[in-house]
């Protein structure tokens, strides 16, 4: 069956320790719970979780939403934010996971990506290279969100025009963000369900999420 691949690329760097990581874990859990109430998502969405701190890791490879089991994200004591490495990993994963359309095989829907960081990429050169590669690929949508006082929106604009920011990193704001992510995925689902994904039709973000222009 044709899947709608959704990648969550989440910052687990040292600065996320404490309340932020707990809020993030809860936020992702509520994202999954709410997606599971949507029949189309339950049949179509495949979800992957990539974390990045000093190293970028596939925490959960692309898995049908129905079978997805969420691990608990734990940040290291401290260390850099290798978003560039995470994007490289994302590109590799997508090449491996997402089936392109051909006459011999029905392709998947275009992937959706949600990036959340509370800092800025430490591996700037790798980051810029990865952004350049990403521009050359086809996406259903890429949404980047800078969270907390140190979250920088400027570098994220190189990745995607859809950049947002969250001022605080508590449960309330993350819940709001992931609720909105869920609505975005559901909206894209709607359009793929009707036979045509024209990219992510972003619904109005909640008040916690500010649009960066």
């Amino acid at each position: 069956m044709r899947k709608l691949p959704v990648y969550l690329v989440l910052d687990t760097s040292g600065s996320m320790r404490g309340e932020p990581i707990e809020a993030l874990n809860n936020g992702v859990q509520s994202l999954i719970s709410s997606l599971r109430q949507d029949p189309y998502a339950l049949e179509t969405v495949h979800l992957s979780l990539i974390s990045f701190d000093r190293i970028a890791q596939v925490q959960v490879p692309l898995t049908p939403l129905e079978q997805f089991i969420l691990p608990t994200l734990v940040p290291p004591e401290s260390g850099p934010t290798h978003l560039g490495a995470a994007l490289e990993l994302l590109i590799t994963q997508i090449a491996q996971d997402v089936i392109p359309q051909s006459s011999a095989q029905k392709g998947d829907w275009r992937p959706l990506v949600f990036v959340l960081t509370d800092g800025s990429p430490s591996d700037t050169q790798a980051y810029e290279q990865a952004c350049a590669k990403i521009q050359g690929l086809k996406w259903g949508g890429i949404v980047a969100c800078a969270a907390g006082p140190k979250g920088k929106t400027e570098p994220l604009k190189k990745l995607t025009p859809d950049v947002y920011r969250l001022d605080t990193m508590n449960s309330h704001s993350f819940q709001g963000f992931f609720k909105w992510v869920s609505a975005s995925v559901a909206a894209d689902n709607q359009s793929v369900g009707l036979g045509g994904s024209q990219g992510l039709p972003l619904p109005q973000p909640p008040v916690e999420v500010q649009i960066v222009v």
């Binding site: 189309y40 596939v58 490879p61 129905e66 011999a104 086809k138």
Partner: protein, 587 residues
């Protein structure tokens, strides 16, 4: 093989072959039977196996990542049919690359000596504090049993597309084994309401060194039961939700108390079918359209020839309470011309329901006008007769050009009508554009000659035009598909109309002595029935679809039966479905 041996082998495999995939556990019987000659149990071997196209084709898929192994396999066929192949591959691999001195499945390897890699990996995992020691590694066995039909309501018919395209994978069973230790407890593989569930937990996964009768502190989720002797949770879950099960062991007499039993965490997903809603569309909205439509004509000039069309709103629309976007046209025109058409409004375009309606209406008007022009018809019919007598497979260019003037012109006029419709809003809502009415369009003209049938088709977008005979299928459309699913071309796109030779190339013709069905369908029907465009080329892949349609055609109300049939269930396929059909073409 004894249970003890199986267990030892499984543990061996677990420790050494999938050492870094501690969150997933493989099904031991399958592994051992499938890879009897497998000596090294290394990841490279599996990667090698996975690259083998033969296995990809039979839906055996084993994927590795740093924290899981997924084994997707056609259970019933796998062992007898592919054992030899796997044996050959195993030999091939180890001849190319001699195995490391690592011992094999049946050796008396000391697990201690192999514990190095797993402990390294465990450090990289997020929850090091609660992870087991290598010798008491989490071990569980899961069989996601096939859902019993008797226990699952099956209100709609399933299109048996897997059966048609790949007969050997009917009993495909996905085994994804993913218990996961978290600080909160042991996360069991997810269950689904109404589907059989079974998981047996090894003592090790419950921090026990040997089996012990453990009891649940509270009743399990409705529909499931806990067998304490087997340490097994099984049944058919009835209620979706997140559950936490607490186990209690016999009171500890030992001097050293045993470690705590982890809580069992279980997610029961709702059955997606139960979540689909059927909301009425708002009849007050702009360009409202009925949820279903049908039409039935008996030819007045050719006895026995029937024309039928049916169109049904997809579940995606029903769930959101939005309108059907598809449309069709069906007409018998003067002079024995039969016209069929379907149009699929783009799901992402807000007024595509009107786009598809306009496309059908305008195309019908243009074609009818053309075929009412005596001069045009006269020369067309004489050219057709010449062509039929010529013995050529394809019409001469001059005749093709007639249909260019007729069918391609009809599509172009439809496009212009859509642009004019968008233009009407210019003063009130200037943001409305032609692309808001995006639609595909498939048209087919059918004409009976003295001893043959002539078909001329024109198509833009991913709908299908096909003419079936008792033993062959002729496709008269090339699906305009993009790089990913759901991408296609639309009537409203400027790029479609730039190159005359490309437009000309959209015309397709057939000349046949007989046919059983001439069929136009939107992708809402094609996608669930055909695994790929290539699959559509093969007649055998059409037989299921055609026989289901024939059942409808034999009913007293064939149009209504077809409309009902369009409601078939196919997971992940919930688009609008529309077909236009001409049948009874013996001559």
């Amino acid at each position: 093989m004894t249970m003890e041996e199986k267990k030892r082998i499984s543990e061996y495999l677990y420790l050494h072959m999938i050492q870094d995939f501690s969150k997933r556990i493989l099904e031991q019987d399958v592994i051992c039977d499938a890879f009897p000659d497998h000596k090294g149990q290394d990841r490279a071997f599996f990667e090698f196996i996975l690259q083998k196209k033969e296995l990809v084709d039979i839906n055996v898929k084993l994927t590795f990542d740093q924290n899981k192994a997924t084994f997707l396999i056609a259970f019933n066929q796998f062992l007898p049919k592919y054992k030899e192949l796997l044996q050959a591959l195993t030999k091939e691999f180890y001849q190319e690359k001699p195995p490391s001195p690592a011992t094999g499945c049946t050796s008396e390897a000391d697990p201690e000596s192999k514990s190095e890699p797993i402990s390294q990996q465990l450090e990289a995992l997020p929850v090091t504090d609660s992870l087991p020691e290598p010798e008491s590694v989490t071990f569980a066995e899961v069989r996601e049993a096939q859902p019993e039909d008797a226990t699952q309501p099956e209100p709609e018919r399933e299109p048996e597309r897997e059966k048609e395209s790949e007969p050997e994978t009917v009993n495909l069973s996905k085994v994804t084994l993913n218990s996961l230790r978290t600080p909160q407890g042991l996360r069991l593989p997810n269950a689904r309401v109404g589907s059989a569930y079974q998981i047996q937990l090894a003592p090790e996964s419950l921090n026990r060194t040997r089996p012990a009768p453990l009891h649940l502190m509270a009743p399990p989720p409705p529909g499931l039961q806990w067998l304490s002797a087997e340490q097994e949770l099984k049944g058919i879950p009835e209620l979706a939700g997140e559950y936490q099960l607490t186990l209690q062991g016999p009171s500890a007499h030992a001097e050293s108390p045993e470690p705590a039993i982890p809580a069992l965490l279980l997610t029961i997903n709702p059955d997606p079918r139960s979540l689909w809603q059927n909301l009425p569309s708002d009849t007050e909205q702009r360009y409202w359209k009925t949820d279903t439509d049908l039409k039935r004509l008996e030819s007045t000039s050719v006895p026995g020839l029937k024309l039928l069309a049916a169109s049904r709103r997809g579940r995606s629309h029903a769930h959101a309470g939005t309108c059907r976007d598809d449309d069709f046209l069906l007409q018998e025109l003067p002079g024995n011309w039969f016209l069929l058409g379907v149009a699929d409004g783009a799901g992402s375009a807000r007024y595509s329901r009107q786009g598809s309606r306009l496309a059908c209406q305008v195309a019908a008007q243009v074609i009818e006008a053309k075929l009412s022009d005596p001069a045009f018809v006269q020369s067309l019919e004489s050219q057709l007769a010449d062509f039929a007598n010529s013995g050529q497979a394809l019409p001469p260019h001059g005749l093709q050009a007639r249909f260019y003037d007729c069918l391609a012109q009809a599509a172009l006029s439809a496009r212009k009508a859509i642009e004019a419709e968008a233009q009407k809003w210019q003063d009130v809502e200037p943001e409305i554009q032609a692309k808001d009415f995006a639609t595909t369009l498939q048209l087919c003209l059918v004409y009976p000659l003295a001893e043959q049938w002539f078909f001329a088709a024109f198509s833009i977008g991913d709908g299908m035009i096909a003419v079936a005979q008792s033993d062959a299928i002729h496709l008269l459309a090339e699906p305009d598909s993009g790089e990913y699913s759901g991408q296609t071309r639309f009537l409203t796109m400027g790029s479609v109309w730039q190159d005359a030779s490309a437009i000309f190339g959209r015309l397709k013709f057939a000349l046949l002595t007989h046919f059983s069905h001439c069929l136009l369908m939107t992708d809402g029907i094609c996608d669930p029935y055909f695994a790929s465009e290539n699959a559509m080329q093969k007649f055998e892949n059409w037989q299921g679809l055609l026989s289901e349609m024939d059942q409808c055609l034999h009913s007293p109300q064939p149009d209504e039966a077809l409309l009902e049939w369009l409601n078939f269930w196919s997971e992940g396929e919930h688009d609008d479905r529309t077909l236009a059909l001409l049948t009874g073409g013996t001559r």
